[in-house]
């Protein structure tokens, strides 16, 4: 079963205006790497950028297994920029 991935506005702008993706992924890392904005969410080492938060059904993946967090299907994955900036 697919998961739903929701993007914030800047990332949606970079994805051609699309803020909702449905895709098949076994882990959070697979889901993020399948996005057309993967290189904005992950750095060149493939690590989640420090100020990008990823929530699976409301739970921060950093409190689980990070990018290795498994997905069973049916979850909603929300990407959120941390509260930072000027």
């Amino acid at each position: 079963m697919a998961v739903v991935v929701l993007l914030p506005s800047l990332l949606a702008g970079e994805a051609g205006g699309r803020n909702r993706f449905e895709l098949d992924a076994a882990t959070i890392g697979d889901a993020v790497r399948a996005l057309p904005v993967a290189n904005l969410v992950l750095d060149e080492r493939g690590e989640l950028r420090r100020l990008v938060n990823v929530y699976v059904d409301g739970v921060d993946v950093r409190d689980r297994d990070g990018l290795a967090t498994p997905l069973a299907g049916g979850e909603t994955v929300r990407l959120v920029g941390a509260i930072a900036g000027g």
């Binding site: 800047l10 702008g13 904005v37 290189n39 904005l40 920029g81």
Partner: protein
Amino acid sequence: MSVVVLLGTRKGLFLLESDAARREWALEGPHLPGWSVFHAVVDPRDRTIHAATNSDVYGATVHRSADRGQSWTRAEELGLPEESGLTLEKTWHVEPGRDGEDGRLWLGCAPGALFRTDDGGETWQPVEAILGHPTRERWHPGAGGMCCHSIQLDPDEPERMYVGISAAGVFRTEDGGENWAPANQGTAADFLPEPFPDVGQCVHKLLLHPGRPGRLWQQNHCGVYRSDDRGESWERLEGNGLPSGFGFPLALDHRDADAAFVVPEVGAENRVTCDGRLGVYRTQDGGSSWELLTDGLPQRAWGAVMREGFSSDRLDPPGIYLGAQSGSLFVSADAGGSWLEAVAQLPPILSVEAAEWP
């Protein structure tokens, strides 16, 4: 023919357009909303706009537009190799290659990195000789990070180019980027124990005069300098009309290799324009003397102009463009003699580049 000015701001890219008189300006944008545009430039070879774009959250990248900002494509491959132990922090400056070097551009980044593309900006490869430079352990970041902000190509010698990195100094290659020699003799680093080291200088902006290729100018953390020998030696130029040697921006007059423009600030610990005004200082004698230009500029201001916030065009007389942190762009259509405020209340301006548009 029109003149298009690219204004990179903390919150996107704006375009201003005028005819050759450069008195009435039409504003367009913002493009790339949400991105901090550290620098944007029109590649004169194909009219593609390239923008060094940064986000506090989503990192550093480069966008390009082949349709004057209507649509944008992001670089696919841009990062530092794992063995370097470094990750990309910021993109700072895009420099198009020469005529005949199709698809080649250069990109200056932090931490102390130079990239090259040969496919018009789709993929960027780091220049290994900068990344692994033998003096690198003596480079240190300035307040803006360890940024490679100046890239200058010799118009006549295809293998010769220069970069400026803060705080590493000026480096010159004579072999297309395989080897880089420090070019800092005579430039001060007052913040280091040894005031005249071979590397470690905090160059703020470096420009090569297009009509006299051996002549370089630099605005440094510690003074304004001119070199007439490709950076082999430098002459310090303040104390003869300049109120301070500290500042960031620098602009040149393409017609006259002896002319340069700077916007001095009080000093490193008080980074505001001198004497409570926004003053441009111009030399027309190679830096022997400097005159204050104020006609049309704010007479009461404690401003700041970023290192990329000042540039000139190639018309005759050249237009000079000054983008302030206050969000105003000031334009002089007569090489600095008089100025007008072309636009105000933009986000803080980070970069200014002017291009002729057919």
